[in-house]
Chain length 341, copies 2
Amino acid sequence: MMRMTRTGANGNGVTMGKVAELAGVSPQTVSRVLGHPELVTEVTRLKVQAAIDQLNYIPNGAARNLASNSSRMVAVIIPTLASSAYSAHVNNVMALLDERGISVLIGNSEYSMQREEQLVQSLLERRPQGFIMTGLQHTQRASDLLRSSGVPVVETWDTDAAPIDLCVGFSNINAGADVGRLMVARGAKKIAFVGGNRDQDSRSDRRFRGLQSVVEAAGLAAPVRVELPMPMRTTDGITGLDQVLELEPMTDAILFSADNLALAALLECRRRGIDVPHQLAICGFGDYDLSALVTPSLTTVRIQPEVMGRRAAAMILASLEGQVQESTVTLEHQLIRRGSC
Amino acid sequence: MMRMTRTGANGNGVTMGKVAELAGVSPQTVSRVLGHPELVTEVTRLKVQAAIDQLNYIPNGAARNLASNSSRMVAVIIPTLASSAYSAHVNNVMALLDERGISVLIGNSEYSMQREEQLVQSLLERRPQGFIMTGLQHTQRASDLLRSSGVPVVETWDTDAAPIDLCVGFSNINAGADVGRLMVARGAKKIAFVGGNRDQDSRSDRRFRGLQSVVEAAGLAAPVRVELPMPMRTTDGITGLDQVLELEPMTDAILFSADNLALAALLECRRRGIDVPHQLAICGFGDYDLSALVTPSLTTVRIQPEVMGRRAAAMILASLEGQVQESTVTLEHQLIRRGSC
DNA sequence: GCAATTATTGTTAGCGCTCTCATTATTGAT
DNA sequence: ATCAATAATGAGAGCGCTAACAATAATTGC
């Protein structure tokens, strides 16, 4: 079946003036009914509301933004939506913001700081009332743009450096170190790390550094490190496993920078007859839903993307209301010891 | 550390007029440099560009939208971002739209048609130049609003009914039927289905109906059906398994409406010593990354959320360019036969 | 009962941009 | 050289709304 083209009309042509006319009041009164109903008599409010309903009036946001200098939008920049942690995070940002009538503009940086900078620039045109960023690392220009934007900026997923403005996240370094301590405690001698490219995924890099410091402090050899090209797919966990074993066949413990990678590796180990955890201990990151269900169950680090999302949104809202608040909020991460490590 | 509040300023106060003044041209010429550079001499273009760079000018999108009657935004409404299929879908919508300088406004309906209607209404205020919806089922008012919006509307994830305007998806009924045929062919006698609440998740409902029709046509008893409350979590797969076995202990094949549920059930079966697929066959839906990796590997239906996302975005773009196109595009789904069924 | 509030509505200006059209500079054809 | 095109810029108007102020009506206090 074919369909006809249509002229991309905007709205239904009903303006505030038309509503005002029908209701027999001034446009400003219609505006009040919408924005400050308490300033209007119940009688006129109903009269205007009737006109609005009758004409199916839908206010023009652009005009409203322009006149009021307030966009009721918040920009969120994440590496990709195709990762459950980030999408869960954004989902919760939206849940809180939607309640306040604030729309969310999303940008995917695809793990590129250049692309992130472009996004900041282009999203700035929409005059969002806040920015929620991923990570603390940005191009100089992106940072400058954010800083001079005049709106609250919340950086998330990382608390291991100084934020531009506000920050809610967890310490990737400490999380990596916690895993290191567990591995050392269980007697691992050859520890490895599989994560994303260090320049593109600085959170992953920090986890490695935390791990590394503990491992070296314990007098063990520096961990073998495998860097996978971004974006990583689940099956890259197997690639990572292979590369680790190639670099150091005696490896007895691996930390993967995400649970899906760890799960893929863990399942592959089963298939190959590698005994997890005795021959090879595996630790993931993120505590995905399936991690508790596989056999052996996956030891991992639980972070709180949902809480982080809500908190980031709440920080934007508080900042918009002029509330003074802590610059950096560190959420607890938790090492979940299960069967695999 | 505490931080000071700031007045939520908008932009950096630099307007087109300021740029024009510095460049020694009229504001209109600046506008041309930004929007139609081909209408401007190379010399003036460079002069203006220099002024833009020097002042760090960022155009005001609201003003632009208002004057040009074009928002360069597209609204996308999905049930939730916390489901890998939908987030992958949105991710690909964005990939294509971003290239054209179009921002994406996301709304989560949380599987509620009422909430979806609210979202349509509130997003309409932003005058998006297109809507990408999930599913074909909406409240009457939501449909009316979309229809009269004057912009292209693409409904996705379902082709089993008439669209408002455009549609790209797959046949959930046929997909369910394909699974039914496989189960019947492998000799299943007591078939069951685990999915979401039928009123909230109509796609899941259609998969059931496809399954049901084949099962009944084969002379078998109607499938046992378990409806889980939305939103479903991965571990609900175990709940579903339990409920199925309680309702019909002799069940020998179950179709789950999503792979994560099926995976949870499959892993649980292993744990309980239920032999998959001989004692109980399990089929998932969506072909998630881990589905091929578990043992036994999960038989499932592969759909193409990424293609669907790109295609939906492309249809919006084509429609905006006035191109006439097929109303409904049906993407192929594919039954991936693996070890579990 | 009359000025002084206080509630309710209307009027006047823009917000910052892009239309449309008018103007001037440039080029080409005769 | 002369007129008609064409190219490049500018001027004026207005997109649909809200902020600030002005005007009117209803209320209050003494």
